[in-house]
């Protein structure tokens, strides 16, 4: 295996593209809270964008490298660094790590947006597939590594027969991050569809979009609690299926935005639902971060998603061209 965990960090889990198809038996979709961060970490290695990777949260792990490997890094910048040598592991690129080195992701780099960073290995992390996914389902304790977060002493890595050769530093990935979400510490805006308005106070949507919200401390992979003005929720609907990005109004509290690990059903009034293209922003909202909401139409939501996928496709092409060039220059396996 590739890594021994010297320190698990705050919450480090195996996540992939998620576990669709089991909501009717109560299973959360799961998967990376920032799907773009996951995709970038994988694409710079030439992996499938949804391959299983490590998701780190705010304070990442310390990992001993037992076998030479390349890694891809995506998502937020948690100050990743290789020792000895002190080389930085910034998101949006791939790096070669020597056996015997140690990597750490100590803390969020001041002034940078987000709080979740992704670390990918060639072919993805070797984990059993449970219900179609390698993602960790924390609430039920299955998937990933024994259904739990990484801790000291764990050993994880790529499959033994995974391709370990090749090196790359993909170009233009900083641009990908900016174009993919557009969010900064100064201003994060999440685009939403209104409704579905089952018995909800119609002013609640206007109030949601007029306010600047602060992400609360009691936020996790299931949802984000927002602090700001009190909204009038209305009576809501009887419990129904909900989605990643659903914005609920529980009585007497701030709005809750559901993330990847949300419960599949819920009964709180729903004021709006974030568009799919902005899930990566939601997954990077750190406690204390300010966020606004803006209503968009179907066309805008579609255009945002198309643009996002195009950017990732272009990155994949750039990576594959760079590899071909390096291979032809006799660099492979260096």
């Amino acid at each position: 295996m590739t890594f021994e965990v010297l320190d698990g960090g705050l919450l480090t889990t195996i996540q992939d593209g998620g576990r669709p198809g089991f909501g009717h038996i109560g299973v959360p979709l799961g998967g990376a809270a920032d799907p773009i961060g996951l995709a970038v970490a994988n694409i710079v290695l030439g992996n499938d964008p949804d391959a299983a990777a490590l998701e780190m949260t705010m304070a990442g792990p310390v990992l001993a490298v037992h076998r030479e490997t390349v890694v891809g890094v995506g998502g937020a910048d948690l100050g990743g660094v290789v020792q000895p040598g002190g080389r930085r592991l910034e998101p949006g690129a791939a790096y070669r790590l020597a056996a015997g080195s140690t990597i750490a992701f100590p803390r969020l780099v001041s002034g940078s947006f987000g709080m979740r960073c992704y670390l990918a290995v060639p072919g993805g992390f070797d984990m059993p597939v449970v219900l179609g996914s390698r993602s960790t389902c924390l609430v039920a304790g299955f998937g990933g590594l024994e259904g739990r977060a990484l801790r000291t002493g764990d050993v994880v890595g790529a499959a033994a027969d995974a391709p370990g050769a090749g090196t790359t530093t993909a170009r233009g990935v900083g641009t990908v991050r900016r174009n993919a979400t557009g969010a900064t510490v100064a201003a994060a805006t999440v685009r939403v569809f209104p409704g579905p308005f089952g018995g909800i106070d119609m002013h609640a949507l206007d109030d949601l979009c007029a306010a600047v919200w602060t992400v609360g401390r009691d936020s996790d992979r299931m949802g984000i609690r927002l602090e700001g003005p009190l909204l009038q929720p209305g009576r809501g609907m009887v419990s129904h299926g909900v989605t990643w990005g659903t914005i609920q109004l529980p009585p007497g509290g701030g709005p809750i935005v559901l993330l990847a690990d949300h419960q599949p059903t819920g009964g709180y009034p729903v004021v709006a639902v974030a568009i799919t293209a902005d899930r990566p922003i939601l997954g990077q909202l750190a406690p204390g971060q300010q966020v606004r909401f803006e209503v968009v139409d179907v066309e805008a939501a579609r255009a945002a998603l198309v643009a996002q996928r195009k950017t990732l496709d272009e990155l994949a092409v750039a990576v594959s061209e760079e590899r071909r060039w390096l291979d032809s220059a006799g660099w492979a396996g260096a």
């Binding site: 109560g26 039920a140 259904g147 009887v238 909900v242």
Partner: protein
């Protein structure tokens, strides 16, 4: 149109956009066994349509609605909504099939004591003896309305009106796995240790969720469930 059974208050189904990744098919506004049965018929129909190429993801039943995941690049397509509306109308009209074929699952339950610390409170609320609460709770073949909250957590109903009890004012930070609980007219078994606000009346050793089992959830939407008092 209606083929058998008692008349149900039918409202026309509605298909509403639920963000850009799903649509919600609304069949009713209340917790009603007949409407819920139609939800499960619709879920079967949507799964069958998806298997033949319609662009639907795996549907998620609610009490009175069905969430249908759709491709975000197709949402708002009129053809999708029309197809779902037709399936919904059919699910509301054809009501004679399915129910007889449902599985009935029994859950051996130790009531009261350390296993059911709120049994006395439920009895007090009902103005009954604890033994009467147990008898009433075990007297019904409950319907699995839907799952949610956690993998394998099934919302069962309806609890006999005499013992329906509101949630606790302060939720417990940790409810033991296997706890049998009541909230209003619903009853459920907690599959895992978790926080919870329901009234705990008993506990079972039955395993509600096992990811290595096929299917992993003991209870599935539309099943029938009976609780049987047990000493061990």
């Amino acid at each position: 149109m209606t083929t058998s059974g008692s008349p149900m208050t039918v409202q026309p189904p509605r298909v509403v956009t639920y963000g850009d990744s799903a649509v919600l098919v609304i069949l009713g506004e209340t917790v009603d066994p007949e409407v819920n049965a139609a939800v499960h018929r619709l879920a079967s129909a949507v799964r069958a349509a998806a298997a033949t190429g319609m662009p639907f993801g795996a549907p998620v039943p609610g009490y009175a609605s069905l969430l249908v995941p759709v491709d975000p690049l197709l949402v708002g397509a009129a053809a999708t909504s029309d197809a779902l509306l037709q399936l919904a109308v059919r699910a509301l009209e054809h009501r004679d099939d399915g129910d007889r074929a449902r599985r009935e699952i029994t859950i051996a339950t130790r009531y009261g004591g350390e296993d059911g610390p709120d049994l006395a409170e439920v009895a007090r609320h009902a103005g009954l003896r604890p033994a009467d609460v147990v008898e009433l709770h075990a007297s019904v073949a409950y319907r699995v309305y839907m799952l949610g909250f956690a993998p394998g957590f099934a919302y069962l109903g309806d609890v006999p009106a005499a013992i329906a009890t509101p949630r606790r004012e302060t939720p417990r930070p940790r409810v033991p796995a296997g706890s049998v609980a009541i909230a209003d007219s619903q009853t459920a078994v907690y599959p895992f240790h978790s926080p919870g606000g329901w009234q705990l009346i008993g506990r079972t050793e039955v395993v509600l969720w096992d990811a290595a089992r096929n299917p992993p959830a003991l209870l599935e939407p539309g099943d029938r469930v009976r609780f049987v008092p047990s000493e061990s």
